[in-house]
Amino acid sequence: MDAAGAAAGFCLEDYEGGAPRWCPGCGDLAVLNALQRYVRDEQLPPEKIAVISGIGCSSRLPHYVKAYGFHGLHGRAFPVACGVRSRRPDLHIFVATGDGDCCAIGTAHWIHAIRYNMNMTIMLLDNNIYGLTKMQSSPTTGKGHYSNTHPGGAPLTPINPLMTTLSITNASFVAQTVDWNPPHLYATLAAAHKHRGTSFVRVLQRCPHFMSGYFDEMQKDPMLVRLLTHDKGIAIDDAVKKAFPNRAEHDPSDLAAALSFAGDPEAHPVGLLYSNEQAEHYDDFTAQGLGTDAKAKVAAIEKELDRFTI
């Protein structure tokens, strides 16, 4: 694929920003790579890409993509992305967020961004911890797990971002993948980008620095992960199939089944849980009147002024 991409115009380097400054082995790197390869394969013009993030290790991602980027405030990537989208239907918007960024401080915006269903791809890099601030519990940290804010162990069972996302009216694309399976990661991002609306992709992401070995069990015991397959789902090849022997056929238009896979305590679902092309797009509302020229505007304002003229 690399060769093909290069021949067509933009090559991988055209999407490479500053040298990534993540720890060795950090799962964020896999996501960055998949994203760069995908946009190269799709030959998206770099100037038409906006990568938007909050604050966190994961939110450093825009700095490493050679494109327009917005590395904003902790928890606030979604409103910014929605605002960019509101008057710019021409841009490709990718959002990088962390489990603290999205599921703690960003909760309100997460819920509402899903509801708005504006065209963008959300990548939740969920390492189950606060990385950048050095190992505090996040809402997805496992119960009893040691952290700097909970040296006695996190007191609560983690929230389930998939279930909560699925529960939001207008959710239109909900998928899960893992950083340690690049082909599935790539295929998931591809499907997400091609979907019109807000695609929510949760990536289980390893943080070797603070959560060393945390996902080992999942990587070792294939029964802990369940690959969801369907011809309306994420495209998978044999290698992916082989990596996930525990598989289930799941029609992504079935919300009830999606909720039950998402909530299954036995196995983490990987694949497309839900997709709905019919969901409403708030960008249809916000893009109204785009391109009205100055003359037309002045004329309309004059009419408005007439209403107040005495």
């Binding site: 700095h63 929605c82 960019v84 989208r85 915006h109 509402h112 009147g289 309309a300 002024l305 003229t309």
Partner: protein, 636 residues
């Protein structure tokens, strides 16, 4: 039509009695939902049409539907009508129409009614079936007399019933008619207004309202002996009348902005309501976000993408936007923020006026976050400042705060119709290739200004960040880069200040006392100055529109006066007894630092606009105060 003839005759007879006045303040108060507000607004509009200056103030109850016949429930309008331009709500009312005696008490409690004022009071309560209501009415009548009001009992409901079956839905129009007779208003103008207002509701509704107006007019023609004539001077330029929130909304459109991203909050929301209804016609959209943080975040997203937006809010909402405002300064994103100030702190007095957010506007964001802060002083300026604000936000690349307040927001005034210019409209987003040589924060050495690439511009890509960064927008931790970047952002204010004019002094350029004001108090302050000068006092005033950067030359101006004091609608300790512990009003505090002049202040937080008379009294007492013991001091 005999009725009409009778009317005209009655009028012409009584017109001879008309007392000529330069201005009059009329209040109409009712229970919430009885329509006193509409009545008052229309009275204001037709007065403006006839060529009077007007200023209207809403009288708003605290609850949505307060109990009827209660002091807390007073709802209505105050209309000040004058010979020339009217710049403020004035002092006490000269004439009040009250739907019951209890709502009148609310105005009496607020000290809003002049001794000797005419009170036109619904008389039906006299014969109410409930004895306690009859008693309350009778008692009030006695009390009103003792207070020196001239009460006219008016059988409003009775008269309305002759025209309509449900008088609660028509009394206001009947009263409008009555007032038109008393103030010699041209009723045909009312017809036109009604035509426009009820166009959608159909002919019958229009006719019913016309009939009510006529009935009130006729009744007054025959039964009321009061006549006031306020000389009119029809304008030779087209005039508009609107409130400040509408003016802001229109200004947003005239500036060519295309997005208003907001979260509802009183008293700012009505600006967004206006925009929500009209914005689409000019290709714009109102986004109601899930909260204020999301509202400004969304706005900044649009700004980053090339469309300078506006976000409109009030105190509590401003507090929530603090962090994002810091980002807008740091990452240099153009944005217009309108803060319609209300009573604070915290939830405070949501519907009432205050000028309490000045220091928060300047300093709320942690770290050094220099930004432009402006305050329109009139409703007309509410419009024009939006056009300026968008331009400044873009040329100086950052947030511009525009401070209005509940007084401007809901007050109505007439002013010359703006001539909208095509060059006011923001140009389309530049999508031409970017000159790769130009860095995204290539700060000009002296002005700190740099050019901004916009997504879509090939070769312009950069990663915006709120972290300390260099000219390439690369995250940087080096001391020198941080110092340089902070300096660049600060320089922008100095650069803007260079372009600002020294403000003009109202009155003589030297004297005993200079009043300094900002924002909505302009009219009241200048009227107070006029009155004081008429008394022979050597008083002048100066009014600031730019609060950050401050307009230049203030120290010079102040040096020509024995005493300088600000007048503000915010809290300050009165001087007595506190010595150095005294806390100053917000502008006063800034000006002391800026000029090192011992700027005094008089400020109040009544929840209402300041009346010129209050200012006159305050200035007079400071003029008479013994020389201050505390003197300004320079280092030895």
């Amino acid at each position: 039509m005999p009725a009409k003839e009778a009317t005209e005759e009655g009028i012409s007879q009584r017109a001879r009695l008309a007392q000529v006045v330069n201005q009059h303040i009329v209040e109409i108060v009712s229970d919430s939902g009885e329509g006193a507000q509409t009545c008052g607004q229309m009275f204001g509009t037709i007065s403006a049409k006839m060529g009077n200056g007007v200023w209207t103030v809403e009288i708003i109850p605290a609850e949505i539907e307060p109990p009827f016949r209660s002091r807390a429930g007073a709802s209505g309008n105050r209309i000040r009508v004058g010979k020339g331009v009217v710049t403020n709500m004035g002092d006490q009312a000269d004439l009040v129409v009250a739907f019951n005696e209890q709502v009148l008490y609310s105005r009496i409690d607020d000290n809003a009614i002049a001794k000797g004022a005419h009170i036109l009071l619904e008389s039906k309560w006299k014969e109410d079936r409930l004895p306690e209501i009859r008693a309350a009415y009778a008692e009030a009548m006695k009390d009103f007399e003792e207070r020196g009001f001239i009460v006219h009992e008016v059988p409003m409901e009775e008269e309305c019933l002759k025209v309509v079956s449900d008088p609660r839905r028509g009394k206001n129009m009947w009263i409008l008619g009555m007032l038109s007779a008393i103030y010699e208003r041209d009723v045909s103008l009312i017809d036109a207004e009604l035509e426009r207002k009820f166009k959608r509701k159909g002919k019958d509704v229009i006719q019913k309202n016309v009939d009510l107006v006529r009935a009130g007019y006729d009744w007054a023609g025959e039964n009321v002996d009061l006549r006031f004539r306020i000389p009119v001077a029809p304008s030779d330029v087209p005039m508009v009348v609107m409130n400040g929130n509408t003016a802001v909304g229109l200004g947003v459109m005239a500036a060519g902005m295309e997005l208003c991203s907001m979260y509802p909050i009183t008293p700012a929301t009505s600006a967004s309501h206006y925009l929500a209804g009209s914005f689409q016609k000019v290709g714009g959209v109102v986004h109601q976000a899930e909260d204020e943080i999301a509202a400004i975040g969304f706005a900044l997203g649009a700004s980053y993408a090339g469309k300078t937006p506006v976000t409109i809010t009030s105190g509590p909402g401003l507090a929530l936007k603090t962090e994002f405002i810091g980002l807008a300064v740091m990452a240099e994103l153009p944005l217009v923020i309108v803060d319609v100030q209300r009573g604070g702190p915290s939830t405070g007095l949501p519907t009432r006026v205050e000028q309490g957010d000045l220091l928060a506007a300047l300093f709320a964001s942690p770290g050094d976050a220099p930004k432009i802060v402006m305050a329109p002083a009139t409703i007309e300026e509410c419009f024009h400042f939006m056009v300026t604000a968008r331009k400044l936000a873009e040329s100086f690349r950052g947030p511009v705060m525009v401070l209005t307040d509940a007084n401007l927001a809901t007050g109505q005034q007439n002013f010359p119709r703006p001539e909208v210019k095509e060059e006011w409209i923001a140009p389309p987003v530049d999508q031409s290739p970017w000159d790769g040589e130009v860095r995204p924060y290539e700060w000009d050495e002296t002005t700190g200004i740099s050019q901004r690439p916009v997504p879509g511009q090939r070769g312009g890509n950069y990663v915006l960040t709120g972290l300390a960064h260099d000219e390439k927008s690369r995250v940087a931790y080096e001391s020198a880069i941080n110092q340089r970047a902070m300096e660049a952002r600060s320089r922008k204010l100095a650069a803007l200040r260079k372009t600002l004019k020294t403000p003009e002094v109202y009155g003589d350029e030297e004297g005993d006392l200079l009043v300094v004001g900002w924002g909505s108090t302009l009219g009241a302050i200048e009227e107070a100055v006029d009155r004081l000068r008429d008394e022979g006092q050597r008083v002048s005033s100066v009014h600031l529109r730019f609060l950050s950067p401050l307009e230049p030359g203030l120290r010079e101006i102040f040096s020509k006066f024995k005493k300088v004091m600000t007048v503000e609608i915010n809290y300050s300790d009165d001087p007595d007894g506190l010595g150095d512990a005294r806390r100053y009003a917000q502008l006063a505090w800034m000006l002391r630092s800026e000029t090192l002049v011992d700027v005094d202040c008089w400020s109040r937080v009544p929840g209402t606009p300041l009346a010129p008379g209050m200012i006159v009294d305050a200035v007079r007492s400071r003029l008479n105060a013994p020389a201050e013991i505390k003197r300004s001091q320079s280092a030895q």
